[in-house]
Symmetry: D2
Subunit: 332 residues, 4 copies
C-alpha cells in the first residue's frame, strides 16, 4: 500500500458547508462502485470476499478460541428512545416455569416447555446496516430510488440479500491501545493515516476482502461511567471522513466499530451528516456494523498476540429489512 | 463406532404408555450429563467443541463456498398460530423512502436513512432451542427448577449462555437422498442404525464435537405442495427416540433438522411427547436446532462431493431467552 | 325528510369505469364539508353532535341497560393477515400467577400482582377509522396532503383529535330483520331507499347528529359457519354508494357496520374502491366504524321495542393514529 | 352518611409491620364481598350500578359538554421502564402517506389509505385494573387462585368480564381545590374524613353505585415540572388505607385517581404495599382506575358549578387481560 492519503484531498481544506458538501460529493463519485459487480448486484464490497479470501481466512483459526462481539439484547441496552423511535428490546414469555408450576401443561405427560418472543428495532444493539439503510441524494447503492423502501420493507438491497454473509478474515484496529489511552474521547476522529499506522504497529497486513473492526473504546468508557449517557446519537469518537481513502484503497469488505454511528460525532464535515455512510455504504457498497462490543476482542487479540482472526456475523434474513441484529464471532 | 443400538434397548419393546415412560426415564438417566462439565455449566454438549475440534473444523474450508440454512423471517413463514401463540414475524418500518419523499428528513442535508423493527416469537423460524427451553420432571439441564424461568426470562441456561457458539464442524445426513426419495413422509422415523448407515454411505466419519444436520426433506415437500400445511406441529418425519443412542455415543455437540420439532410426529414413544428433547436436550445438554432450510445445503453437498463443512450459527444473545432465531452458515 | 334519492342520480347509470369515477367525483364534491366547521376543524360531522343533540341523546336512557358492541380482542379475531399486514392482537403477560407461584414477588409481603401488554393493528377488530385513514386524490378531510401522514403518524386528523367523542344518540338499522332474513349475503348492497324504509318500519326518526349503526348480519353468518372465512376483505354485504345521499341528507355524525369495510364488496361502483369512504369520510368528514358486533344489540332492540339508544364509543387517544380499537356501548 | 371512620379503627394505631398486616387483614375480611353477587360473579362493585342508578346518571347530562380524562398514548407517556417492564406505547405505521407518494397503492384507483399498529403495556397510561390484576394471600376477587392467570391470560376476572361497563354517575373529589393548593405533595394521604369533607364542600351527595374520581393534582405538578420524574412508582400523593371505610360505606362502584397507583406512596401501612388494592380491589371487588388526567375535568367542574356528571369508560375487551387502556369521558 502506498501513502494513500497524500494525494486524495484538496490542498486547501473546505471552509463553508457548501464546500464540504462538494468534497463529499466528489468522494462519493470517486469511490462509487455502482455497476462494478453488475447492475443487479446487492452485496457491494462483500464481493471482495472471494473463495480465495475465504480460504485464507480459514487459516486464521489456529488456537480454537471464539470471542463474541455482541452486546446483550435486553432492556439495559444503549437506546434511550431519543433517536427516531429506537427503543431497547422487549422480551416476553409465551410459556414459562410459572405456567408449568400451575399445571398449564399437565397434558404433556413428563415434558414441559418454555417459549418466548421479542420486539425490537433492528438497530437497537449490535447490528449490520443493510445497503438499503442509507440514501445519497435520493439513491441507494447501485442507483435505486426511494420507491424501493416503503412501509412493507425494502425490495432491493435488503439485509436478506447478504444472507450468506458476512464471513471472512477479520482484523481489529485497536486505536486506544495504539494511542496508549483507555478510550478515545467524543469528537476524536480517526483518519486514514492513523488506520495505517495502527495496522503497522499491530503487524497486521491489510488485505483485499478484509472485514475491519475499529475499536474506539467508547463501550469501555460508558461501562466505566456506569451509564450509556448520550451513546445513542450524541458526541462520539469514530472514523473521520478521510477514512474513506483507506477503506477504498484496501478494498475492505465490511467494517464495524464499537460506537452508535461508526463516524466521529459531530462529524468532521460541517454541513454533511455521516459522510462515510454516503461515500462508503451508498456509493462503495460497504456493509457497516455498529454497536459492536470490542472489549473482549481487544483483550483476546493482546493475549493471542495477533489482530487477525476468522470472522463470522450472519445477519438474520428478515425479508426487506434495512438492518439486522447480529452476534459477531471472532475465531482465533 | 460399534453397533451402538444392539445392546441399548430392552429385548421386548414397551407396550403401555407407562412402559414407554419408563424407557424414556431410563434413557434420560443413562445419557444424563449433569455435572459432567461442572455444576455451573450452562453449555452442555457444546463443551465437546474443544479448541482442537475447532481447529479441525477450520480444515473443512477448502472451496470458499458459503451456504445459508436460514429461512426468510417474514409473514410467509411456517407459523399458523396454532401452537402456543407462535406467529410469523411482524416487520415494521420506523422510517422509509416515503418519509424521505415527503420531506420528513430534509434537515439532514444530503443524507437520508431508513430504519425498522421486528416483533417475533423466537422460535418462529430457523432457531436454536436454549437449554432452558425444556423441563423433564420439573428440571432442566444440570438440575435447575421451574423457578428459574419466569415472565422476566430464564436466569440459567438462557440462550445468552452460549453466545460464543455455535461454531464447529458440521455434517449433513441427507436421509431422503440416502433412501432415494424426494422427502420422508410424516410419521417416518429415523433411528440410530439409519443415521450410521447414512453417514457411512456418505463417507463421512462422525467425530466427537460434530454439529449434525439431519435432512428429512419436509421443506421440499411443503414447497412442492405450495403450502406449509400442518408443518408447525402436525405429523412430520423426524428422529425417533433411538437416535438418542447415536447422538450420545458420538458425543454430538449440537443437532438440527429441517422440521418444526426435530422428532418424528406422532412420536414413536406412546405416552411421551418429544422424548429426544427430554433425553438429549434436558439430560445430555444437547443444543437442538429446528426449522433449518437444508435444501440448498443438500445440493451443495452433492456438488462439493462431501457432507462435511465448517458450520457457524451464533444465537442472538437475548438475555434470558429460551431460544433464538439464527441464520446458520455452512462453509465449504 | 323528503325522498332524497329520487333527484340525486343521473337518469342514466354510468357504464364504464371512467363514468363511475366521474360520478364518485361528483358526489365527493357535492357532499364535501371542507371548511364548513373552519379550516382547522379535524372532527368533521361529529360537529353535528351539538350540546342540544347530546342532551336529547341522554333521554334515550330509560331502562338502564347496557349492551357492548365490541368484539373480543384476541387471537381468534377476524384477521387472516391477508390485508396489508393486519394480524390479530397478540396479548402477552409481564407478570402472572405462575411468577407469583414461583416466588418472583415474595418481596411484596401479602400483595401480588399480574400485568400484561398487547400488540395489535389498530383496525384489527371493532374500531373507528380516523379522518386521516383515507385520502381522495391526494387529500384527506379538510384538504390536507400526504405529507401529514408519515412513519411517525398523522399530524392532522389523527384519532386523538376526536378524543372527546364519540358519544350521542345511536340508532340501529337492522336490515336483515327488516328484510326478514338471517343475514345479508356477500354482494348485497343497501341503498338510501332501504335505509329510509328500514328506519320507518322500525319507527325511528332519524335526526341530525345521530350515530347510525347498520346491521348486515355478517357476523351472525360467520358464527353460523364457524369460520371467519373471507370476512377481512373478501366479498361482503354492506352499504352501496347511494347510501351517501341518505347519510348526507340526515347529517349523520358517525356511522358503523358489522362488516370489515362498511361498504358492499365488491363495490357497486366499478373502477372505484370503497366510494363511501371517499365521499363521506374524506369529503363529508364522517367518522366510520367497522367490525362492530351488532348481534346482541339487535336482540336488545327487539326486546326493548325501540331502535334508538344512548351511544358511547370513545377512541383511545393514540397520538397520530389513523384508527382506534373501541368498545362501543349502547345504553337503553 | 354517618361519621364512618370513628368506629372503624382500633383505638391504638398499629406499630409494627405485623400489626399493620393484621389491620389490613382485618379490613380485607370486613369489606369482603366474595359471594355477595354470586359465586360466579366477576364484576364486583360494578353490580352497584343498577338500572335505576344508570337512569339517575343520565339526568346528569344537562349541558351537553364532554370532557376526556385520557392521557395521550404515545412515547411521551409516564413510563420510564423502571416498573416491571412497562414501557410507553410504540406506534407504527403499516401504510402511510409516503407509501402513497411512492406509488405503493396505485392499484387502488382514486382511493388511498393509511394504517397503523400499536404495542403497549395495558397499564402504560390511563387504564382500569381488572379484578384479575391483584392477589391477596394467593387469591383474587371471589376466591380464585393463581392458576387462573398464566402466560395465556386470565381465565376469570379478566377485563373482558366488565365489557359492558364502566358507565354510570361520576363524581369528582377535587382535593387540591378543597385544600386550596395547586397539588398534593408526594406522601400526602387522603383519608375517609377528608373525602367526606370534600364532597360536602362541593355540595355533592355521594350515592350507592357512584364512580368516584379523586384528584390529587399530581399531573399538574409533573406538567409544571416539565418532567414525569418518578411518577411511575415513586413517591406520590394518594388515598390512604382509611379511604377503604369511605369507599365501602358508600358502595362506590369504581374509583380512579390521577396517579400511577391510586394510593399514597410510600403507603401509610408499613409492611403492606398498596393496602387499598388488597382491601377494595381483591376483597370488595372494586374496579380501580389509574393515571387519569383530571386537570380538564377539574376546570370543567368549576365552570359548570357541579362535581357530578355522566361517566363512561368502557375497557377494551381484550380476552384474558388484567387491565385495559381507556379514554374516560365525563359528560355534563
Amino acid at each position: 500500500m502506498t501513502d494513500v492519503q497524500s494525494t486524495n484531498e484538496p490542498g486547501v481544506l473546505p471552509v463553508t458547508d457548501d464546500e464540504w458538501i462538494a468534497l463529499v460529493d466528489e468522494l462519493c463519485l470517486r469511490y462509487r462502485n455502482w455497476g462494478r459487480w453488475g447492475a443487479d448486484d446487492q452485496r457491494g464490497t462483500l464481493n471482495f470476499i472471494t473463495p480465495e479470501v475465504l480460504r485464507y481466512a480459514a487459516t486464521m483459526i489456529k488456537a480454537g478460541r471464539v470471542v463474541s462481539c455482541g452486546l446483550p439484547f435486553d432492556s439495559n441496552g444503549p437506546q434511550s428512545g431519543g433517536f427516531g423511535g429506537r427503543t431497547n428490546p422487549v422480551h416476553s414469555m409465551l410459556q414459562d416455569g410459572g405456567d408449568i408450576a400451575l399445571g398449564a401443561q399437565d397434558h404433556l405427560a413428563i415434558l414441559r416447555y418454555t417459549d418466548d418472543a421479542v420486539a425490537m428495532p433492528l438497530q437497537c444493539a449490535t447490528q449490520w446496516d443493510a445497503l438499503a439503510h442509507i440514501f445519497y441524494r435520493g439513491q441507494m447503492y447501485n442507483g435505486h430510488g426511494l420507491e424501493h423502501v416503503t412501509s412493507t420493507g425494502a425490495t432491493v438491497n435488503g439485509i436478506e440479500k447478504i444472507a450468506d454473509g458476512v464471513v471472512g478474515r477479520g482484523i481489529l484496529l485497536d486505536i486506544p491501545r495504539h494511542r496508549g489511552v483507555d478510550w478515545l474521547e467524543p469528537g476524536d476522529a480517526i483518519d486514514d493515516v492513523e488506520l495505517s499506522a495502527c495496522a503497522e504497529a499491530q503487524a497486521v497486513e491489510v488485505r483485499s476482502g478484509d472485514i475491519v473492526l475499529v475499536r474506539t473504546g467508547q463501550i469501555a468508557q460508558v461501562r466505566s461511567a456506569g451509564s450509556w449517557g448520550q451513546y445513542d446519537g450524541g458526541p462520539a469518537p469514530g472514523l473521520g471522513h478521510r477514512a474513506a481513502h483507506w477503506l477504498a484503497a484496501h478494498e475492505i469488505a465490511a467494517m464495524a466499530t464499537d460506537t452508535w454511528g461508526t463516524e466521529v460525532l459531530p462529524n468532521d464535515t460541517p454541513g454533511v451528516f455521516q459522510p462515510l455512510h454516503l461515500i462508503m455504504l451508498v456509493n462503495a457498497g460497504l456493509t457497516i456494523g455498529e454497536i459492536f462490543d470490542l472489549e473482549g476482542l481487544s483483550v483476546a487479540c493482546q493475549e493471542e498476540g495477533r489482530y487477525e482472526f476468522f470472522f463470522t456475523a450472519p445477519p438474520l434474513p428478515i425479508t426487506g429489512a434495512v438492518g439486522s441484529p447480529i452476534n459477531p464471532l471472532a475465531i482465533f
